[in-house]
Amino acid sequence: MSTQPTGDPAPEDGSLPASALTTLGRRPFGVYVHVPFCATRCGYCDFNTYTADELGSSAGFDGWLDGLRAELELGARVLAAGDNPVPAAETVFVGGGTPSLLGADRLGEVLGAIRDTFGLTAGVEVTTESNPESTSPEFFEGLRRAGYTRVSLGMQSAAEHVLRVLERRHTPGRAVEAAQEARAAGFEHVSLDLIYGTPGESTDDLRASLDAVLRAGVDHVSAYSLIVEDGTAMARKVRRGELPMPDEDVLAERYELIDEVLSGAGLGWYEVSNWASGVDARCGHNIGYWQGGDWWGAGPGAHSHVGGVRWWNVKHPARYSTMLGEGKSPAAAREVLDTADQRVERIMLELRLADGLPVEVLDDAGLLAAKQAVADGLLRAEALETGRCVLTDRGRLLADGVVTRLLG
């Protein structure tokens, strides 16, 4: 994200408090790799990405890959400092940015570096994000050979004018094609990302996008309402009145449409913005985020979590490479969560899941609020009776407010 949280200073050697390592291996463990490169910057995006022009030659792909290797080695050393063995990665997720810009060979090297450091479990889930315009049948085949098991494609919309507002470079049909190519290359798990609520997008545009998604035959869909982040080109246009933002009621209707079409096609929600055709089709890596799993996030600006300690790396690729070149941890800052923080996070994250949140996490006031939320039609009555807080369809759209209420 463009703004990083404030935290405490992180130690230069990247070491973690002993307490963080005592539970290592008891939670799911994953590795996230951040690819900070994009061919161009999209007007709505506030992610930590850079175009070639912005970076110059010093911090190119190879420099980044060297840094990444160094960080993964550092990570394995840091985790080995405790009494528990370093866990092998159950999930790997390469995000960005535009990982597909690296090409299948380099993405293969990335996975190799993880295998060499943390190791990979037998059934490891390995996902990479890709932009439709930088993929090809050969690319997908290369990924398969390298060991990737899952592809997530940034489709966003099937309407040309919407893609234009988002400044996406692919043509409307390309995402579906890419998904089909990925499936042809042997990927069982392919996901498409949609963005809804873009200025100028009509309900029919969204319907057309959903039709295209279904045509592509993917087993996973993520859909996000467009958030105009401060500091983006789009935020400036909205502020100047050049782009009319849809109101929250329209966004709610769009969400309901998405949910209706996807569940009608056998894709059920498992997190407020994610749908999958079955338990196997869910993104195990992301579930780790929501269920308090451990992961090492490598790459510029990447966030990590191990045993109640969260930290995040310096954002700029040049600085990232320099720090690792000097043998230092690239962490910018960190925070050690106390029990109260951890409880807040559990409520905030687990409530987003279709599996919900166990009521034991709530205090008395929170439990009372949960009962009230059932009365308001925001939590499922039958789920609460069996000890879980699960959002209703309406509740999913008001999840943030429900979280605030459950915090007591």
Partner: protein, 622 residues
């Protein structure tokens, strides 16, 4: 430089006591400054603009809240005289204090802006002065302004006072032109004070001020006998006695003296710390061989307008309490008692002499004590008779009796409005919409008219003056005086959120206005209350009858679409911030209402703003 005025016990025939009656901005303080300079009491170096208005707030608003007075030397035809200039508060809320200042004088300068003519409050104070048989010296100020019309307003003043146009003095207090003539006229025309120098001492308190270092400073005018220090004095209304530590004169700072004789004006210090022990209008005498009869005219201050004051931040309640305690030291008219509001939390129900008194008190609390306050709509005192024959006074809508009501009486006011005659229509419209009854109308001149109304006090304490100003493009002035109670068809309108009454919004209104109040509030709140996770009905009711209804639709979407590994810390911090923000919300039942919504719903800005716009539109069409 020593003068004749430096020593006291001056022979009464050499003394002249006078005040200045003027409207805000008509130049009273400038004239007072000029007089201080001209008499040599204030030298150029020590000169400070508007020396007499000491409080910052007064300077800012250009009004005098607490009067000051000063002893001045002046010679006419080689004969030494002592002038006591007694400054009077200039606003209707302080009519009683004005009347006591007038009672300390034998004459008054009627100071009127030569470009604007006399205003309603000035007229009211002029009539008050004439009732006290004061010699009136009419003076037109600002004659050097390009817009001045001295001939026109001299005719107007002559018409009102019943003097010759040539008797009206013309000055420019700013340049000093004509000011010495005014002082000469005071000596020549204002009667010397009279009193029995051998009788037991009697002095009238016309002001008392709390000073952090000296305690209460009491301003007196000696009527009979002598007031001398180091004796015990008695306050005749309460019988309380105090050691008289110091007696002195002001010229322009406090100077201790050997005492004060008949007709003289000065100050007393007794060491008391609360102005309530030294009340305006009370008579000071000596404890031993004191007077038997107090001077006439003492009255306890009676609050006319009540309002709830609540700290925005509930934890400021003790600060507010201490602040009110401190203000009380200097304000004998202010009353307060703790009040608990379901909507606004802990605060105080405060009684004020009038709206300005309320505004000033609130502004001082906010400024001097760094408080952020919400004040509820001002309320008059209603007298309610129940069917069982019992009577209650209601100063707060929350105390409106539940039982069957046989009669409600409300305070009425005699209201005078002076404005250019072109605005008669809009003024009449306004007064009629406020349940006013026209008593009479007089043309003060061809283009200026005085309208007299009997109008419920409740209708003028809220936003009447704002509306009057906006309908007359600021040209109207008004004054009012309470004239007793009258039976009226009044009801209490409650505003309910999700079926729960919000006490802060309850109001007592005439039954014909209940619907418009109810629907206006419901409408305002519908706009001000943010959408919640559930539908919020807003209703206005009289008793159990719903008279208006609005709905805040349920919010449909609040969820931030993405929450992945890199979003978690930021999002948790956001939640913590929201939780802090939630603390600043007031919760009515389950409805979270931001403070700003209360402030906006209780403010009158919207109403007068609309009218301003209307006026602008009308102007545009002309």
């Amino acid at each position: 430089m020593s003068t004749f005025a430096d020593t006291t016990f001056t022979s009464p025939e050499r003394i002249r006591n006078f005040c200045i009656i003027a409207h805000i901005d008509h130049g009273k303080s400038t004239l007072a400054d000029r007089v201080l300079q001209l008499t040599g009491v204030l030298d150029e170096r020590a000169y400070r603009d508007q020396y007499l208005d000491r409080m910052d707030l007064e300077r800012e608003r250009g009004i005098t809240i607490k009067s000051q007075n000063v002893r001045l030397p002046w010679q006419v035809d080689g004969a030494d005289h002592v002038l006591h200039l007694i400054d009077t508060p200039g606003h209707v809320d302080f009519t009683y204090e004005v009347s006591r200042s007038l009672a300390a004088c034998e004459g008054a300068i009627l100071l009127v802006d030569a470009a604007q003519g006399i205003e309603a409050q000035t007229l009211a104070n002029l009539y008050l002065a004439m009732e006290h048989d004061l010699e009136i010296i009419p003076v037109l100020n600002k004659i050097d302004l390009p817009a001045a019309e001295p001939d026109r307003y001299a005719a107007e003043l002559a018409h009102i006072i019943g003097c010759e146009e040539s008797d009206v003095l013309r000055v420019s207090a700013k340049s000093g032109q004509g000011v010495s003539d005014v002082l000469d006229s005071v000596v020549l025309n204002v009667p010397a004070p009279s009193g029995d120098a051998d009788a037991p001492a009697r002095a009238m308190i016309f002001d008392s001020v709390y000073d952090t270092y000296r305690g209460v400073i009491t301003y007196i005018r000696v009527m009979d006998g002598r007031i001398t220090p180091r004796e015990r004095i008695r306050m005749m209304s309460t019988g309380a006695t105090h050691e008289l530590l110091e007696v002195g004169i002001i010229s322009p700072d406090q100077k201790p003296s050997k005492g004060l004789g008949v007709g003289e004006v000065g100050y007393l210090i007794t060491g008391v710390k609360d102005v309530r022990q030294s009340r305006v209008g009370d008579t000071v005498t000596f404890d031993k061989n004191g007077a038997e009869q107090p001077l006439p005219g003492y009255r306890d201050p009676v609050p006319m307008v009540y309002s709830g004051l609540f700290p925005m931040d509930g934890s400021d309640y003790p600060v507010l309490r201490d602040a009110l305690d401190k203000l009380l030291l200097n304000d004998a008219a202010l009353t307060y008692e703790p009040e608990t509001s379901g909507a606004l939390g802990f605060g105080f129900r405060c009684g004020f002499l009038g709206l300005l008194h309320l505004e000033i008190t609130r502004a001082r609390l906010e400024r001097e004590f760094n408080l952020n306050l919400i004040s509820t709509a001002p309320n008059v005192v209603y007298s309610v008779t129940l069917e069982d024959g019992s009577d209650t006074d209601v100063t707060n809508p929350s105390d409106w009796p539940e039982g069957k009501i046989s009669e409600v009486r409300e305070p009425m006011a005699k209201c005078t409005v002076i404005a250019p005659s072109e605005f008669v229509g809009p003024i009449m419209e306004l007064c009629q919409s406020r349940r006013g009854n026209l008593d009479g109308m007089d043309y003060l001149s061809e283009t200026r008219v005085e309208l007299r109304y009997t109008i419920p006090l409740a209708e003028i304490v809220f936003d009447f003056f704002d509306h009057l100003k906006s309908r007359t493009r600021g040209y109207a002035s008004m004054d009012y005086e309470e004239i007793g109670m009258q039976a009226s068809s009044l009801v209490k309108v409650d505003i309910l959120l999700q079926g729960e009454a919000v006490d802060a919004f309850s109001a007592i209104v005439h039954k014909d206005n209940a619907y418009s109040y109810g629907s206006r509030m419901a409408n305002k709140l519908q706009e001000l209350i943010p959408r919640q996770q559930f539908e919020v009905p807003i209703q206005a009711s009289v008793g159990s009858r719903i008279i208006a209804r609005e709905t805040v639709r349920a919010m449909r979407k609040d969820v931030l679409a993405k929450c992945y590994g890199g979003d978690i810390s930021r999002k948790r911090k956001l939640l913590e911030k929201q939780k802090e923000g939630k603390k600043k919300m007031k919760t009515v039942g389950r409805v979270e209402v931001p403070q700003e919504a209360f402030v906006a719903a209780l403010s009158t800005d919207e109403g007068s703003g609309k009218e301003d716009k209307e006026n602008k539109d009308k102007k545009g069409k002309k």
